[in-house]
Symmetry: D2
């Protein structure tokens, strides 16, 4: 069978590197191009910490749009603001584009401006093509799409944890309080005093309280799924781990619920989903998802408080980025959803 | 001036060891006895990681209640359930007792039974003598006390963060959602697979959701301060750090508040308190309090959500345990509140 | 093709769990039995941190030697002293046995007694059958073997780093100074204060200086390869990482050597070896081998000192244990050497 | 008594910050100026992780040499190359100067050029005034000095571990093999991908093998103490800790030695030294010295190998930098050697 040819833009970053690792083992994909402007000319194995294979002489390249691109699908693992410069011309060339940045996740330009502190410059037509790539809730649209806006890492952990409850109207849509903890790789691969080992180890710090760019993404998606206006309070924290997100959510119940009904809400939507592991019994441990495309979800009632606690955990670079991007590619291209991801 | 003679029970644990370090530098205190049944006979410097001085031949001893105890004040850094076996006889001998365990923090025996899963066996008279040792809110009672129930580590971080707002009726007393992260030393010094480096590093785990023994402590104290019934939802998390607690709280405002009014609520109560560092500008970093008796507190309005976020951080072994115990001793004994603690 | 049936003894430990993960993805192997006395009855996914698949109801079992064992190959991931109780009867039943413990690595019973502080109780016949499972240097004997003594984790890192130089007589065989650093998983999965996060984090400790049980293993194997008596000074250190070994070696040159000759010594022996990545240019980073069966080796001359520095790094649970065990199984059973390991 | 006035140059770095903390508690010193060009104008408490006190409004300043400096002693916690630009004029103004950089540790300009890759530009007169500030071996010269070259962090850990043995001629002076592990703060407070948490955690890396700038410092000092040419092989490693150095040394014995003679070599020189804790029984643990000015030293014979292993550990920012600088100041200024350091 003919292999799908894939190119990665931003291949030397943490998400890009994870894409290299996953796709180099994907049975239906051949990696044809690894673009990374800042590492152009360097050998891939020298830059990426965990080399995918014994020895390669493959080098990162600088992208030059004058050359015809030998690729069917392009993954944009670029910083916010750069993907919208790249996506339109690739779409024009007929490429499938999977954008891991936040550039095309919000259809509302004013929300984008407010939270990303920059303008969304893609055309209305381009923006309208972008399909939100959350396979567990949007698979049929993804299967027909050519342009995927891959969800944010925090957004994935929050939306998947809450969607069954908002869809089932089990919780008050404006009562949601979310606390997340993330590892340092979530900030991307870059030189920064703030992320130095000596500053991060044995510490914790909350940041962007009430102002994080994943808030409008989460609210928009959950509101769309439930046809109600969903509002969340979201506080992310940086903790001394390299990879992973741990999300703890509290929400008010709309009406009393039994444990069985609670479980049924999740099982109904997720029992057939290959990457969601819902358990009403085991409180998640972050490391159980590290290096995998799984998201682990747990839910528990607090009947005296008329509340439900939901906890989810995932690897921010896999289910929160590169793994989900490949899951989307599988759906777009007609491969089995789990191919290359187990 | 005559030195106060102090004995520590449970001196080889993490809180006990921290007491050794603090008290061995305290200008008004002489450490006379270090009791530690499991480490009896061992040299103190061999057991404690950070030896307080150049070299000592001091050894831990097993306690034998047949011998007269050469001490004015006794610190009980014992596991829950053991302090209530020890405190009554020491009080009978006229000692000042500072109990770092949870045994005498709850006056309500049924709450104790429910959350500590054991019976409180001290007499009503003994239990009634126990004064809750939170100096920022209970100093006058502490100054007259002979028996102190030193607050829990999580409880300290939550109560100090919330008390100004509940006292000022600025928040809805049943709307409080608390998420805390704690280091491994919070579980005490013990052999356990669960706290092995290989299990904890690069991981996170929530535990005792809605069931932690500090919940009734927090609710009782805050209700007492505000004369309203305060209810909290509390979720603790174990994260890969050795020391420290980071607490993030969300609560609903009773009425709209300006940033200045919010700040004034905290400054009014804390501007003269030597160990509370309130800042409306700087989101706390856990490591800034490590090794100190300070608690750092931050507050921020979320006007669109009609909520306030309050964050506090402290060293669980210092302000959350041994440091606060010495702060209480200073008040009980008439020393300056900060002596030995700066 | 008929699948090889494999059983793991000690399947809930760190090496055992790694075997579960590797073998559950091995295309030619079916895992039939997971024995773990201490975890008997527990679901595999509950115990192992990184579950190999979506959801299984497989449970660990207690071994009962009265039942016929449905397995062609048995992996013994047992503590020292237990493997020699198990191996003989399994060999009698005609099973292929791969022993990951140290029980059968030393043919010299007095050396075993001296360093393992216990008696080797297997019969002479059994002990003589044990083939040292270092595929890079012993492949032909391994291919004919039914009983493999899988090398120690430190021993693998030291022997592979030094063997080319001792074989080529490039270094003085009694001049070798080895310092290794290891992660906490090297001590096995067990409750121990010594390995608690709060004791290990932000610390380092050397241990068993001049007395580690891998010293006779390394000396015996290197002496055998070079027909000279090789003597090493070996100091292991525990550092705050979960997985991995980093080994730094200094040895005196027998005669002046050029950089090219040095590289040639390694390339001659390793250029065709699939899991050895020798580089004369890049100083190894431990994390590059984490989760892989690779060992990275670097060598550098210090001409002014007439010495050579050799550095190697590996994942102690993979190339240092479970991965190498599977590599040995591949050779014994006639599968491609790298099957299931890339 | 009149307070000594002290200024710190480079006060916002890790060593500079440690000086701020130590000196702000020193009973005989008043901090008058905190210079930090990159943090000029910022509040000290905002920049330093562990604020020394409750609240200060002290700000870092940019140095301007046109203004008369209100200080008796100047600490230069500046990067290599910057201290030699600053020291001469301060000495000219009659200040006591304690230089924590490497600029004035080597009297031999060609060695400086070779290892620091830059020229030493101080005049011969200035360079000749610099006294090597290792109090345990050079106290009388330090007491008469006005200009101190404070030792390197690795150099301190190696020289103090070896000096008794080289002085006593107990070891072969060209047989010394040193391996050190250091925390990330050793690299200074700076933005760098190399020191990002995500790159450092769960990893180890050797660097500057045979080429580190502390090699000539160690060799020169030990040769001077022993009147023999001492040569070392030195390999530093970066490991995932914030603070601390752990040094493991192997050397050949000149002649057979008993354990008692070995201990006597150390006790003879160190039993009266307040910051050296020699133990022949306890293998050092790094964390026991964290935050202190102690260096812990251990020695063990390997009689079968005719070798001795010596291990030392210290806090790189205290005994390896700021603490030792204050110890030197105490000697220069006639204060008790331990003042402000216990």
């Amino acid at each position: 069978m003919k292999q799908l040819r894939a190119a990665i833009f931003g291949a030397s970053g943490y998400s890009g590197g994870e894409l290299v690792r996953i796709l180099s083992r994907h049975p239906s994909v051949t990696l044809t191009k690894l673009f990374a402007d800042s590492s152009a000319g360097k050998i891939v194995d020298e830059v990426l910490a965990r080399s995918p294979q014994r020895a390669t002489t493959t080098r990162f390249e600088a992208y030059d749009d004058s050359i015809e691109l030998d690729a069917d699908v392009c993954f944009l693992a670029l910083p916010h603001g750069e993907a919208m410069d790249r996506a339109p011309s690739l779409l024009d060339q007929g490429k499938i584009v999977i954008d891991l940045s936040g550039d095309h996740r919000l259809q509302d330009r004013s929300l984008f401006q407010k939270f990303y502190k920059r303008q969304q410059t893609s055309s209305d037509e381009i923006l309208a093509q972008a399909v939100y790539g959350l396979p567990e809730w949007n698979a049929s649209a993804i299967q027909r799409a050519r342009f995927i806006a891959n969800p944010g890492c925090y957004a994935t952990s929050v939306i998947l944890a809450l969607a069954p409850l908002v869809v089932e109207k089990a919780i008050e849509p404006d009562s949601i309080i979310v606390n997340s903890m993330s590892g340092v790789s979530g900030a991307g691969r870059k030189a920064s005093l703030e992320y130095s080992f000596a500053e991060v180890n044995e510490s914790v710090k909350a940041y962007r309280i009430g102002d994080h760019q994943h808030i409008p993404e989460i609210e928009t998606v959950l509101s769309g799924l439930s046809n109600e206006e969903v509002k969340i309070t979201f506080t992310p924290h940086l903790i001394p781990i390299t990879r992973g997100i741990y999300t703890t959510i509290c929400a008010e119940l709309s009406a009393p619920l039994t444990e069985l009904e609670l479980q049924e809400s999740f099982n109904k939507h997720y029992s057939e989903k290959p990457f969601v592991r819902f358990s009403p019994e085991r409180i998640p441990e972050l490391r159980r998802t590290t290096g995998t495309n799984f998201i682990d979800i747990y839910a528990q009632l607090l009947p005296e408080r008329n509340q439900v606690m939901v906890i989810s955990t995932e690897d921010n670079l896999v289910k929160g980025a590169a793994g989900q991007a490949v899951q989307n590619m599988n759906l777009v291209c007609g491969f089995p959803e789990t191919e290359g991801l187990l």
